[in-house]
């Protein structure tokens, strides 16, 4: 995470946009983001902020303002929390030392820190109130959107942040007001402190009184959200059943005499339901397993047979995998047309260096030596296609003992693969994380 993502590093000519960098942050990622933007070391910026903070709190104000205004870099992850501890300890230590050596802070320093407090509180609230968040608040409780903001539990601690931010703003403002109403240098500090304490007690009292109401509204909001999710799911299921299952049942009743048609309809519906219930949907133009399943489904639909598809592993579709899928489809069509069986097995396996597909039936079989030259399917569409793309096909069949078509496609041309290896290139491989995804 500490290295910039390729997307961020690519336009190296012009400096990266000024964004906060949450991945490398200690507090808000302002220093890290600025450092990336300016190309300066992070530590220098951190020291600069800290030093400025000691001079009348200017650094703190600057930091808070930057933090409130700059958006986060969405490409980067969240912070490593453990980083924070030593920095906080260090800051506390230096602050304490400063206090001990320099005595209580002077009036201008105090004002600076109070302003920083206000900026910080505003920032907290500002960040909570992103555009889509605000939209959701007003949807959840149309009459009182601000309450939605308080009660939003979408992100852990969102309410706490909102309240905390408000508290910071109020404390800062009270402090500043108290200071200007009581400008006597020696009395000022005490007055501010006692004003703050009073304000805090008052706020706590109000919070205590409001707590039951807030809690009730909070649980109401949660219940409402859950109900909405359930309702959406139910509506989706109902729509699916209505669109497809009922339709299929009607069709089955109308074609009661036609066994083949009934078989086709029932199998098609079963397939749709299964994929709806159990599988994540991958696009047949992108993933090999989805492409194989689609080819099998098409053959099932056209010839009213059952294809038992088993796919192990997965990879992206390219020209070669496309060729093996097309050949497998042709083998399925041949089995459906000539083998005189109701079920055909298809097994496909993706390995690191090759993709293989086996299509097997227990049908009538034939003698491969006597394939009619006119049987274009086997020669052109299977053997020829596989050879053109650098793969191989083998057909095993005996009259009366069924047929098996074996298709093997290496991932890269062996010659080309060796050259690229020799040049130091990475040979193509499958990403292990993608394996088995289709079974999720």
């Amino acid at each position: 995470m500490t290295t910039p993502t390729p997307a961020a590093a690519a336009p190296a000519a012009d400096a990266p946009r000024l964004l906060r960098d949450p991945a490398n942050r200690v507090l808000g990622g302002v220093a890290a983001g600025l450092a990336r933007h300016l190309g300066a070391p992070v530590i220098a910026l951190r020291i600069a902020f800290f030093a400025l903070a000691l001079t009348d709190g200017l650094g703190a104000i600057l930091y808070a303002v930057f933090w409130a205004v700059l958006p986060t870099d969405p490409n980067l992850g969240r912070r490593n929390t453990r980083q924070l501890v030593p920095f906080v300890a260090l800051a506390l230590g230096i602050g304490l030392l400063y206090f001990v050596v320099g005595g209580p802070p002077g009036p201008s320093t105090l004002i600076g820190w109070l302003a920083a407090l206000v900026a910080l509180g505003t920032g907290v609230i500002w960040h909570q109130a992103g555009p889509n968040r605000r939209k959701r608040w007003s949807e959840a409780l149309p009459e009182v959107p601000w309450l939605g903001a308080v009660l939003d539990d979408d992100r852990r601690g969102a309410a706490t942040r909102f309240l905390g931010g408000g508290l910071l703003v109020v404390l800062g403002i009270i402090g500043i007001i108290a200071y200007f109403f009581q400008p006597l240098a020696d009395q000022g500090f005490k007055t501010i402190i006692s004003a703050l304490v009073f304000a805090a007690v008052g706020l706590a009292g109000v919070g205590l009184a409001l707590a039951p109401v807030l809690w009730r509204m909070f649980s109401q909001l949660t219940a409402e959200r859950e109900a909405r999710i359930r309702e959406t799911e139910r509506a989706e299921l109902a729509a699916m059943i209505h669109d497809q299952v009922l339709h299929t049942l009607v069709l089955i009743q109308r074609s009661a005499g036609d066994t083949k048609q009934i078989l086709r309809l029932a199998r098609g519906q079963e397939r749709t339901l299964r994929s709806w219930l159990y599988k994540s949907t991958a696009s047949p133009t992108e993933r090999f397993s989805a492409a194989v399943e689609q080819a099998a489904a098409e053959v099932e639909d056209t010839y009213a047979i059952t294809v038992e598809v088993v796919v192990v592993g997965d990879r992206d579709v390219d020209e070669r995998t496309g060729a093996i899928v097309a050949s497998a489809r042709e083998a399925l069509v041949n089995a459906a047309r000539h083998a005189k069986v109701a079920t055909v097995s298809l097994y496909a396996e993706v390995e690191e260096e090759q993709t293989s597909v086996f299509v097997r039936d227990r049908g009538v079989g034939f003698d491969p030596d006597t394939i009619d030259e006119q049987r274009h399917g086997v020669r052109g569409s299977i053997l020829g296609r596989m050879q053109r793309h650098g793969g191989k096909a083998e057909i095993r069949s005996e009259p009366g003992d069924g047929t098996e078509v074996r298709l093997i496609m290496p991932v890269a041309d062996p010659r080309r693969g060796r050259v690229s290896e020799w040049l130091g290139g990475e040979p193509a491989r499958i990403e292990s994380s993608d394996r088995g995804k289709s079974d999720d």
């Binding site: 219930l277 059952t306 097994y347």
Partner: protein
């Protein structure tokens, strides 16, 4: 001694297997009963988990055909209740589902095999016989899942190499199973005896039940339907 063995084998061949059906769909039970009548004795039926537990305990069948999806915990609950008290009863899971988490979950709970409800009556009878003899039954799809789950992954830590990996021979047998080969055909293809094929499949079943590979635990854990 040899005589006794021969007589015993003959008796086993003559004795019809006692089979118990657990499924919450009465229509399906009736269908299976009719289809299996020629091959085995169906000694009892149950439609709920508690019913199944008490009746299996009293009838002590050889093989229980177990539906995966039932109210109150499904086939898994029955398995977990019966396994310790009646280890001699063999379970064969039967389901319409092809989802990996269903299959793996049942096998890890102790089922000796898994077939889908679309299986033909003859094949079902053969599967029951195989399970009764202590062997395992893998549908092509289950074989595919196992290959997928045990796929060599460079980053996967192996707690127990003996349990967490398949041998090359086991892999070959599973591939042929996934390709729709019968045990006899596998034996012929690999030039080994049917008994050896059965041994390989039983070993794979043991690994499937005992291994702690991440994929297996994950599949077994997130069954979405009960």
């Amino acid at each position: 001694m040899t005589e006794a063995v021969a007589v015993g084998a003959e008796a086993a061949a003559v004795r019809r297997l006692r089979v118990f059906l657990v499924d919450d769909h009465a229509m399906f039970r009736a269908g299976v009963r009719a289809e299996l009548g020629a091959h085995v004795d169906v000694v009892g039926e149950a439609s709920t988990v508690p019913e199944a537990v008490s009746r299996i305990a009293s009838t002590e069948p050889d093989v229980v055909l177990l539906d995966v999806h039932m109210p109150d915990g499904g086939g898994r609950a029955v398995l977990e209740n019966m396994r310790r008290t009646h280890p001699q009863v063999k379970f064969l899971a039967l389901s319409v589902s092809d989802a990996a988490e269903d299959v793996i979950g049942l096998i890890r709970a102790g089922a000796r095999g898994y077939v889908t409800k679309t299986i033909s009556p003859d094949e079902l009878a053969a599967a029951i016989r195989r399970v009764a003899e202590g062997d395992a039954v893998f549908s092509p799809r289950l074989a595919g899942f196992v290959l997928d789950a045990f796929a060599a992954r460079p980053d996967a830590p192996l707690a127990d190499p003996e349990l967490d990996q398949l041998t090359n021979r086991e892999r070959e047998v599973l591939r042929l199973l996934a390709r729709g080969y019968a045990y006899k055909e596998i034996a012929k293809e690999l030039f080994i005896s049917i008994k050896t094929v059965e041994t390989h499949v039983s070993n794979v079943l043991r690994k499937l039940q005992m291994s702690n590979r991440y994929e297996l635990s994950r599949w077994a854990a997130d069954r979405r339907l009960v």
